[in-house]
């Protein structure tokens, strides 16, 4: 076989992969278009005021905190303003080494509380439970450091209500975020988890913990992530949800049925993508045990989160996310193509393995092979340029479609300059950014293979807390006892 033939075969392989990948995105886009249309119609009825009948299930909001003395008080103040008939807030101080607990004691007027703490899922020892004298629905758990997943498990143990809401300390919410994300639990009693669309908070004006005015970040690294988030949520998640095959409910803000999570064993503490791992495990256990369930998604932008502004921070985040993805897949490999795996086993899991986990490797290999072949004179400039143009064109199309879905549904970025900036971000994304993140994701694979330690609460500078596993190229049956 000549070198020419070898390069030709490699080109066809890459082309086949490229076509399959984009067909899967196309399918997700088509499903999303239908869902967005239905959802826009449904939201028409929500333009009218909503009421609470006091029959809504109460919710425990769990806030894991590690060294967050600067922000934790604001976070709690924001959560206390959520519009919901009955909720409690459980803050879990995960062995902070700064003054997080002192701030909580001072701001919330905490007193030690002799809670008969029960262990439904394992966690590191709880040193003490505190109760707020100022807000009767706020408790604080002070525990030994064990990581975010471990803190969530402690919070689940202390939660009193049938639904719990996992929320990152730095998440910016809307007053009706909880109302919106709980709705699927009311509409379908088999719902065990529900997430919503996460948006980028950088550049927005936030007052008292709530979104006041939507804006765009100043730097291009964060701006491109706005497009990425649109893609990941508006057709990534939205496309999977109707199939009951959602790959993840973001740790930044998601609601779960407590009994379902306890039955599944709680969060795993040995992965960096604990939110995605939990969702895949819930799929696996429910499918394999033949239990009816639904994991839902509301397209409404209910939570805003900080994204890295620098390449260094972004690199650390993408390495962590990719490692989390691989760990989640390995932990739940039995879901993959299992005869009783349903859509999650036959569509989501293969998609995650072939396109999300291995995608960066194929992409990087493609760049390297093409560049090498071009350098060796085996491939002409025209061929090389054609492949780059195709990759650029399809990437731009997917992002433009995400922008279209956003305009059709929520129209969050309203100013003309917002649109111009986002269009420019699409160009930047496909001319360097995407290639760069592909390299970092390959580094994430290496990191996973060699099990290099990644600590929570001590991420590299500028990296936000882990909140999303996907890197799309883009109870109690009767209520509270």
């Amino acid at each position: 076989m000549t070198l020419l033939h070898a390069v030709e075969i490699v080109e066809w392989v890459f082309l086949a992969y490229f076509v399959a990948l984009n067909l899967s995105y196309l399918a997700l886009n088509l499903v999303s278009l239908g869902v967005i249309k239905r959802d826009a119609d449904a939201r028409a009825s929500l333009l009218l005021p909503r009421f609470f009948s006091q029959l809504e299930p109460p919710v425990s909001v769990i806030v894991p905190a590690f060294n967050e003395e600067a922000t934790i008080a604001g976070t709690i103040r924001c959560l206390l303003q959520l519009e919901y008939p009955e909720l409690e807030i459980v803050v879990v101080n995960d062995g902070s080494t700064d003054g997080t607990l002192d701030v909580l004691v001072r701001e919330l007027d905490l007193v030690r509380f002799p809670e008969a703490y029960r262990v439904s899922v394992p966690s590191t020892p709880v040193r003490g439970v505190y109760r707020s004298l100022r807000h009767r629905n706020v408790r604080v758990l002070d525990k030994e450091n064990g990581g975010k997943a471990d803190a969530m498990n402690a919070g689940i143990n202390a939660a009193r209500y049938p639904l719990f809401c996992a929320v990152d300390g730095d998440s910016v919410l809307q007053r009706d975020s909880l109302t919106r994300v709980v709705r699927p639990f009311l509409e379908d009693p088999t719902t065990i988890a529900c997430g919503g669309t996460i948006r980028v908070v950088n550049g927005c004006r936030v007052v008292d913990g709530f979104m006041e005015e939507v804006g765009l970040p100043r730097g291009w690294v964060a701006r491109v992530q706005v497009i990425e988030y649109l893609r990941a949520f508006l057709f990534g998640r939205l496309g999977w949800a109707p199939l009951n095959a959602l790959p993840n409910v973001s740790g930044a803000f998601g609601v779960f049925r407590r009994t379902a999570v306890i039955a599944a064993g709680g969060y795993r503490t040995d992965t960096v993508g604990e939110d995605m791992e939990l969702v895949l495990r819930l799929h696996r256990l429910h499918h394999l045990e033949g239990r009816p369930y639904r994991i839902s998604f509301v397209p409404d932008p209910i939570c805003w989160t900080e994204v890295p502004e620098t390449l260094r921070g972004l690199r650390a985040q993408r390495i962590r996310w990719h490692r989390g993805l691989l760990e989640s897949l390995v932990c739940n490999w039995r879901l993959l193509l299992h005869p009783r795996g349903g859509a999650a086993g036959w569509l989501t899991a293969p998609n995650l393995v072939v396109f999300e986990a291995l995608g960066p490797l194929v992409e990087v290999t493609g760049y390297v092979v093409m560049a090498a072949a071009f350098a060796l004179g085996v491939v002409a400039w025209g061929s090389f340029a054609a492949f780059l143009a195709a990759a650029f064109g399809v990437g731009a199309l997917l992002s433009a479609n995400a922008l279209f879905l956003e305009e059709r549904s929520f129209h969050v970025y309203r100013r003309p300059q917002h649109l111009a900036t986002l269009l420019a971000a699409i160009l930047v994304e496909n001319l360097g950014y995407r290639q760069l993140t592909a390299f970092w994701r390959v580094a994430g694979m290496v990191n996973w293979m060699f099990r290099r330690p990644i600590a929570w609460g001590a991420p590299p500078a500028d990296a936000p807390p882990a909140h999303d596993g996907t890197t799309l190229a883009g109870g109690d049956p009767t209520g509270t006892p």
């Binding site: 449904a42 006091q54 029959l55 008969a116 109760r131 143009a389 699409i426």
Partner: protein
Amino acid sequence: MDSVAAFEPVVRLAWGTALVSVALSAALVVQVLRMRRRLARRERRAQEVFARWRPILFEAVAGGSPSLPALPREEEDAFLLLWIQLLDGIRGDSVARLAEVGARMGARRLALERIDGGEALGRVLALRTFGYLQRPEDRERVLRWLDDPRSYISLAAARALVRIDPERAADELLPRLVARADWPVPLFADVLAQASPARLSARLSARFAALCAELPPAPLARLLPLASIVDEHVVDALLRRLLSPGQEPEVLAAALRLVRSPALLEPVRRAASHEAWSVRVQAAAALGRVGEPRDRELVAKLLRDAEWWVRYRAAQALVTRPYGAPGELRALAGSLDDRFARDMVQQVLAEVRA
């Protein structure tokens, strides 16, 4: 170069893909721009309508007789939206006054034009308008949308039916609630509460009780929370029947949550020794609400239950009136040899202090 010819089909395909993708992207951007222009126009118009009509409608709510300007066709949707939003937010006599303003502005004609149109928002506005105008002749028209598969349409129809004729609406709505798992019970409770905000009428309540008598356990347990807005006498009779021995645990638990009358104490006491903890926990809570001093021993026994929630509700029950003051519970804690029970008593005493 030789290689170019060899890869010709692949290269052509790649160029084709690139060109088609870029063309489609450009088309999407153009579409986005058009949507933006349309939306901006619509929002501007809505703001103008709101600014003009809000003071007029507020005047009507306050009991005045405002003069009503003409309503151009392009402002009709915004007017209806504002009118319904205000109606949703008020209670009492002012509802009738504001509804009258809508009637004078031809709201019924607007609703008739929109009910069979293609737009979802138009249909929801039409259904809500029929509800607030309360004209019996519109009942059949609304009824047609009650079985719409989209819950936001069917619930808008349900809301309108309750306003037009609450008694007859019950006959239509309650059986459908069983079949429509997508009708959230809390939302449905809100729909029914329009008929009588405090508790449902005797007829509605009787209808609810009769329906419950026919239901299998799972849908019955789902519907039972609605009993909290049902006439008290009807609900007690219903609960007495549901709390009979041999009932499914999920129904027993749902029924126990609703117990508010000491007349139901006997079945509650029986439930305290049920094998399912989901039943025992509700029995403990019910004993806290309606128990008598002689039930103290029974509740104290539940305090030593293996399940955390049963112990918690039992401890909460023990600090309520029939069983004595927190001081007595503190004394009880000292005598307990069960560590879990003692811990729970300490927790609940701390909660009481807080």
